[in-house]
Symmetry: C2
Subunit: 318 residues, 2 copies
Amino acid sequence: MKRVLITGGAGFIGANLARRLLADGHAVTVLDDFYTGQRANLEGLGVTLLERDVREPIPGEYDWIFNLACPASPPHYQLDPLFTLTTSIDGIRRVLELAGRCGARVLHASTSEVYGDPLVHPQPETYWGHVNTLGIRSCYDEGKRAAEAFALEYRRACGVDVRLVRIFNTYGPFMDPQDGRVVSNFILQALRGEPITLYGDGAQTRSFQFVDDLVAGFLAYIQADPARLEAFFAPKGCAIPVLNMGNPGEFTVRQLAEEVLRQIPESRSALAARPLPGDDPKRRKPDVSWAKACLGWEPRIPLRDGLAKTIAYFRGLA
Amino acid sequence: MKRVLITGGAGFIGANLARRLLADGHAVTVLDDFYTGQRANLEGLGVTLLERDVREPIPGEYDWIFNLACPASPPHYQLDPLFTLTTSIDGIRRVLELAGRCGARVLHASTSEVYGDPLVHPQPETYWGHVNTLGIRSCYDEGKRAAEAFALEYRRACGVDVRLVRIFNTYGPFMDPQDGRVVSNFILQALRGEPITLYGDGAQTRSFQFVDDLVAGFLAYIQADPARLEAFFAPKGCAIPVLNMGNPGEFTVRQLAEEVLRQIPESRSALAARPLPGDDPKRRKPDVSWAKACLGWEPRIPLRDGLAKTIAYFRGLA
């Protein structure tokens, strides 16, 4: 039994992770300020709740910390860009200070957004990325990039055992319906009989990872022996473990829309084109060969199965 | 007469800027913690000194703020990477908070390092850069990139009139002899009769801007009418003014070494090859067409003239 802290644990990924950790018999504390997290995601679970801002010093003693706290979708993170930047940057500093104090192991949720609009395809962990410091996504992208640099330097200076995971597009139960994510948008639009909005021509591709795959990867990663990680990463010139987690299966958003409509046969929705927003990455797909080699992890759940569970969840909400 | 604050004003660029501002009749306050700045650089100048850490709230009322506080050379910024990251990130936050409180106009010293090891040559302001979040330079590069994002978002959210300048390799009097910069290294080595260390084969190019050119650019930029800047940048899709300042004249470090030796004819030094350090950018050269079009500014001082003044300064120190 581990004492586990999940910052941002009332969000989409946190809610799934908390359930898995509780099922495995761990003691779970969730830190959340409910800026984007939902109280309903934790209802009746039996987690300890710390209702507070991750940018403030964090009390307690933990064995594992999952740092998930940050608005992560454009409509949320663009609402208050300074909040996003400081949550990303000050949040990881508070988490790393806590870990330094209590000796916790940290898994920090970085993001495929550190790759920006990539010029290399698929993206391995060694790709440096292509990010605009002054664009409409930079409060998120640059905040997350700086958070990686903080993790690296705390690890080197203070010996904190922090590991980075760059999360690619993920979907599943407990997604925020207001989030503007393509999967939840399409499902909700299909269930409501509204037009399914394709940005641009719908030919931009995305990788879609079912959240259970990601949570399985988190568990394998946090439990990995530090010496084994060191042996894997040091020869690669990495001073900190960093792994992509995502599903390399590539689909166009148009294909996604068509699969959603296939699984909601009663829908009266049709596809509708909309202009592409600024700085929207055209194409992104993870190279997960390091995660496979290092942890034996790879995504296992096909899009149609994950979509079926996600559609069932959203039907239950309605 | 303007009330001017220079953070990091005891450093190389600050010392030159302070002299120019005083000569122009302004009241100059220098904030410096002397982490890398030198007291001797301010001796007898008549500036008001705030000896403090830029990461703490800053008192006072100013018309102009030049935010130069940050270790800026690899031997300094790699000494304590967490100090570098936080000085860059928390420093600009404190400066922008101060400016929001007192209505000051801010010129923030960004850097060509936001372009990293560039894939585009020369680098225009629209180039997004090529930076490793997890390399040995990332505490500086990512700290400076995040600082740009903070400047952008404070400007948008709080209306702070902050302008970004990306400074390319600059040299001149008051350079720190301990700094590890190629110009000061070569001059000192030549004056001492030590081997002149070329990293790699010496064929990597650098642009060398004489500091008087940069200071002239700062003055033109800080005085530029906000409406004129808006008219220049808005059509370019820039939500914040951003200008490169550097000298596009390209020299190999080997050519620099040879010119230094030509100007120090008594030197007994010879060139000596050393291995290239990690993540060292191979080639960097500014595109300054925006600064020319926007401010009528361009560098005017040729390398041989600037070197002569710099060598005279270092001879005076010896």
